[in-house]
Amino acid sequence: MINKAGIEQYLYASFGPELKFGRWLIVSKAFTDKLVGDIGALLLDDQVAIVGIGYSGFSPATPSQSYKELIFDAASRAYAECSVNPRKDVGSFVCCEEDLWEGTSITDEYAPDQLGAAQRTLCTLSQDGLNGVATAYMHIKSGVASIAVVESHSKLSNVLSQSQVREFALEPYYERPILSDGIPVAAMQMRRFMHDYKVAEEDIAQVVSKNKKNGLFNQRSSYAADVSVEQAMRSPFVWNPLRRIQVAPPADGCVVAVLASAEKARSMTEQPVWIKGIGWNSASTSAESAVSSEALYAKEAAKMAYKIAGVDSPGSYFDFAEVDDTYAFKELQHAEALGIADMGVSKGNTQADAPVPINMSGGSLSLGDLVEAMGLVRLLEAVQRLRNAERKRSKGLKRALVQSWRGIPSSSGAVAVLGVE
């Protein structure tokens, strides 16, 4: 952690023992510049970077690999990117998964081997992968680890009882007999959202069309298509007003990210992507929070992340955003909560040429629903885009916003602010 003692110690080392904090003189501009620069570097040393990211799967089904083999594949790629040996170098492993998506109770039992984490510091969160990034971030900040690994995956193709599992997430007495598989909650939320924010059905169809088309330029997308707004509006209802095409379809895949302290990061990769800020939040479990037109969890998580990153006006700070769009309307709702777009697509605020373009990757509507891995999928897409932009020396893309939501019936989500400078 950066603190007064640390800066003092650093100044001693740089300018000699006669210098004492509180009674030195500023003699020249060069001196102050060096001071500011060095303190800036010190502050940067307090940061956490993503130094490697690997993935596998990204397909409606992955029959040729068991979940373990899928994870081994993604982990191998992530470690290779930053030359990490998980058996020696990694101080903490964090896996994000839920029992019933695996079909195994206490599913963390099956986490270590394929990550190289046997007899190592590994833990599981029953959370989204982006919460895992927050946990790894805290592990690095608290000194538990200087290199930390985050893993999350989906084998939804193996879950034949997806609607039963979703039903099982509902409160048993008041909600389960009424709300079927929970999808009516999304539909009710959508109706209330459209009502409160005066969003037209066409606006939501615009999101579908944009994301499905964006996905055509992404190798990882399974569900990309050239869909017009008009076609999107003809899709059948799952639960009125929610249409089939507005729901992210299930997909398999695994993402593994390697995080490191600033000190380590610079020697591990030429392209560190800095986590400038991170936040997470849960609104209430209550029914009104489940169908609320406002995404309070995203708003509060963003507030936390923006505070750490020093973001004052997100609408002009970010170059692009990867935002949860499990249901098409959620993209608009989340963009509003994150402060990166005024409501209503008719204003073009979430289109490709918007001030902060959203889901250029194609979003979940193209990539699919990867349950607990969703946050890491958003992170992967943002990291790849930042790195590609840097490689191509295109100046435009340096700061990204990443956001995730845990899905119905939760009101929980996380936000990360990424930067390459």
């Binding site: 009424i178 709300l179 029914a287 169908v291």
Partner: protein, 147 residues
Amino acid sequence: MEYNPLFDGTYHLRPWVDSLPLEYKYSLGVAGKTFSEGLKQGKILASKCSRCNESRIPPSIYCVGCFGYSDGYVQVSETGTLYSFASRGDVVVAAVEFKGVKGLLFHRLAVSDRNKLEIGAPVRPVFVQQAIRKGDITDIDHFELAV
């Protein structure tokens, strides 16, 4: 021999299918038990927190706002309003709010004229006959439009 151990490329891609049947007996809890007793008498009960001057549905032994113990129950008004709804085929699912009460109650909505369905419409519960009520949420058969 049908099985060749030396051939690395032999993929026996096959799924392993199995089920996890689970059976539960959920306790309704302290507040849920009171709510369920209220249903038998045709009442919908909310819990109240006098510090926050707030009542909440479904009732809870704690106040979500101040995280202290709730201190009693109140009956909600006979008519609520439609906060939102969703439909599939003949089934309409509604989120109902009651005046002066935080929270929502989810239930089925029976409606003859879909055109009258709109956010903010007044609705009221229709209970099943007292004799067959058992304290379940389904003691309310459905909600109907109160216009």
